[in-house]
């Protein structure tokens, strides 16, 4: 049982790290501000969620488990709100999202570079 918990928790921790890395890589690869917020969203949800769940399995029943749950809950609520606030501030200060035409390929981008 102990071994099984350890294995599951390590799988969760490693896949969480993978998603965090993916989010960081997305920040570099995506072309403009708004697409980068999507990459940051991967780190916020899958990265944080999987790592914290992995830690919960290591913690066992107790106060630490409850604290980790609270951290997960608050970080999910706060990161979405912060993400929306950032995107809205960028839009209001005049940054136009880079979009593609529906009937063209993604290479033929139609709008301004930031």
């Amino acid at each position: 049982m102990e071994l099984l918990l350890d294995i599951v928790s390590w799988i969760l921790l490693i896949s969480g790290s993978f998603f965090t890395l993916t989010g960081a890589l997305g920040l570099f690869r995506f072309p403009d501000f708004f697409t980068r917020t999507h990459a940051a969203g991967v780190t916020d949800t899958a990265g944080a969620g999987l790592i914290l769940t992995g830690l919960m399995l290591q913690a066992g029943w107790g106060l630490v488990l409850a604290k980790l749950l609270l951290i997960l809950l608050f970080s999910l609520l706060a990161s979405t709100t912060a993400c929306h606030a950032m995107a809205k501030a960028a839009l209001k200060s005049g940054l136009k999202p880079q979009t593609v035409n529906d009937n063209s390929n993604s290479e033929e981008e139609t709008s301004s570079k930031p």
Binding site: V42, G49, T81, A87
Partner: protein, 156 residues
């Protein structure tokens, strides 16, 4: 009154979880600080159905489970786009209508859109949400309106 009571219970639970020391002196401090904060919030007039949405207690867990599933699926899709590179994305800006009756419902909907990777709500006016979508698929998923319907069901 119901909301002040709920706030006190929540604050006490929060204190108990974060403390871990249960001596009578510290528990006395808990009672004093919880009462102080509850009175303060009551006087600031911020304790109402919007900050303490008690009606959602039994309906929102089901929605959360569905949301976790959606977030997982969306995460895999966005992670795939990241590793494929910038050619695999097709960003677009769409407008969706929020059919919720209360402000709280609209906020839950807009926040759920932002929480799901691949869609970020960038503006909210009356009940029209402007959404930035990463790919055509994520935009299409949102336009089916399933999330909208489910948030409507969460509302009292």
């Amino acid at each position: 009154m119901k909301h002040v009571l709920a706030l006190s219970v929540l604050l006490s639970a929060f204190w108990l979880i974060n403390s871990g020391h249960y001596t009578s002196l510290l528990l006395f401090f808990m009672v004093v600080s919880v009462l102080f904060v509850a009175v303060l919030c009551h006087r600031m007039d911020v304790v109402d159905g919007e900050s303490q949405p008690l009606e959602l207690t039994f309906t929102i867990p089901v929605y959360w489970l569905w949301l976790i599933k959606e977030v997982t699926v969306a995460n895999i899709a966005v992670a795939r786009c990241v590793w494929k590179g910038a050619d695999s994305i097709s960003p677009s800006v769409i407008k969706v209508k929020a059919n919720q009756k209360t402000d709280l419902g609209i906020v839950i909907y807009a926040n759920s859109i932002t929480l799901t990777p691949g869609t970020v709500s960038i503006d909210l006016e009356d009940n029209e949400i402007t959404v930035h979508a990463l790919t055509r698929e994520t935009a299409k998923d949102l336009l089916t309106g399933e999330m909208d319907r489910r948030v409507c069901k969460v509302e009292p």
